[in-house]
Symmetry: C2
Subunit: 316 residues, 2 copies
């Protein structure tokens, strides 16, 4: 379920802070073209994607003005054939070669700014940009995700880590050139003053991990579960490991203490008033892998379901 008032608050708050192309919403957080369309209506016409399927889905939904696949791919053929502007991240000779062979025309040099994941060392970015241009690619600039900083609860440390990462990205950008410096996430969107565009995604739905930060966004997403058993002194509801991303730990239930989750259950501390058939809202710890389990986002206004949006960008 997506609570409409919280969603609208989050959309408006972010658009005020980062209007238009200053925000390139990351669709991996919601995997939903209907929600992406709402972001586009708010002025954000470029999107960030994590998978080829996400790029394809947005292109087919008519949201292909400027799609960035902020990830490395070794087979880009499905991207090159799309009727959309597609830019892909590259960090190696192999990924440059894949872009060329796949018919992709524009790239960003992906720079490692501290998160142990993709991206070339900052001092190799210029050389890679030269190699990409030599293969006929247009290099729009750089990307460097400070993913190790976005969830730091200490705001000062989050700011200093972001600053250190962006110093690396700035130096790489000086070697690469181009208009785009793409970085940032929900935790750093207001701290990152180097990036020309912020790739935040979680802000629109939120989760309990981001909820611990000093952010102005509200928890919009929950999973509505039915209490199925209170027979042994605790409460069991029908929302488990196949409805929740679990890498950030257990979900939360207002007023309850979670004991553990099973495939289709969450067991939590006694809430004396609950009976089988009652409904509880389960708040996921991590929004992205939670949404990826579900077929629809149900837009709700309190108890009333006002719309059902297909989660149509799942898979790969």
């Amino acid at each position: 379920m997506v609570e409409r008032s919280a969603l609208e608050h989050n959309l408006a708050t972010m658009s005020e802070s980062l209007p238009g192309a200053r925000l390139r919403p990351h669709v991996k957080a919601h995997k939903c073209t209907a929600l992406a369309r709402r972001q586009a209506q708010n002025g954000h016409r470029g999107f960030t994607c994590a998978t080829i399927r996400e790029v394809e889905g947005l292109a087919r939904a008519g949201l292909g003005d400027d799609l960035l696949l902020a990830n490395e791919v070794l087979d880009a053929r499905r991207l090159g054939s799309l009727d959309a502007r597609v830019t892909v991240a590259v960090d190696s000779a192999e990924t440059i070669d894949a872009a060329v062979r796949g018919g992709v025309r524009e790239v960003l040099i992906d720079v490692n700014v501290g998160l142990p994941r993709c991206g070339c060392p900052p001092d190799e970015a210029g050389r890679l940009a030269d190699a990409a241009r030599a293969r006929g690619l247009s290099v729009r600039g750089v990307m460097g995700y400070e993913g190790h900083a976005v969830l730091l609860e200490d705001a000062a440390r989050r700011a200093s880590e972001t600053s250190r990462s962006m110093d690396l990205l700035r130096s790489a950008h000086a070697d690469v050139g181009g208009e785009v410096v793409s970085a940032g996430g929900t935790g750093t969107y207001a701290l990152n003053d180097v990036a020309t565009e912020i790739q935040a995604g979680s802000y629109v739905l939120m989760d309990t991990a981001y909820g611990r930060l000093d952010l102005p966004f509200r928890a919009a997403l929950s999973v509505l579960a039915t209490v199925v058993s209170v027979s042994s002194g605790y409460v069991v509801a029908d929302c488990g490991l196949k409805a929740l991303g679990m890498d950030h730990g257990n979900p939360a239930i207002d007023g309850g203490e979670i004991w553990f989750c099973s495939d289709e259950h969450v067991t939590f501390s006694p809430l004396a008033s609950l009976r089988p058939g009652d409904r509880v809202r389960v708040h996921p710890a991590h929004v992205d892998p939670t949404v990826a389990y579900h077929e629809h986002l149900h837009l709700v206004d309190g108890e009333a379901v006002v719309d059902a949006w297909p989660v149509d960008l799942r898979g790969w």
Copy 2:
């Protein structure tokens, strides 16, 4: 990917140990009617389900001889309308009432045998059975899942916990009557001599958690990932939190040490030979929530894909 030789070994090994109706395979582990059909061909015509969708899917696939929803539901209407023999677990007046109102005719009394989840206290089972019969339901017997025992690595402790749980289930069965005593899982299938039928599911595909036990089943399931980056001294492949159940912890990669998973990546220790574009097999820690992320199980014979089975029992 499902390695055919390992799958066939697992099917044959289990069917030899628990022939025919002694095994009621739990489909929650694979959510795939094509694989359920293979289990039925091996003589196991009754199935265990965790969700209404699983029951519906098996019924529509012509596998509805004897379907047990081993879970409590508060709205059973979709079950009562199926062209299949459907039995549902009940552990309260409310779930009995839901079965009656939904048009379900047969139930098992679900007994709590130590796992803090569903099931009535053992000494209330007889009273619940009376209540169900008074409402016109046929009570086929009892169910009691020793889920707290199935993953214990110490085999002696696993056996003693199972024995203690089954003592409780036996006493409840004495009060309830009926032919069925349904219990057990992949970790206890060979230890549980009280249950008339064993609800094992994971045995057919396996995962690294069950792989640590003294079981004769082979790891059949893996996720095939492509290396996308080696640019910074470690290896990154494109299999992450949306392709893996993470509640049992990180997956495994042969010869590699996992650092962490992100939404679409796994970062692991350097394997000097790996280059972007190379493939690695990622072995999930927990099979059930892993399969629930995927659209197909690809049956493979080494490198060759010999079939693609839809994971058609996902959702609720």
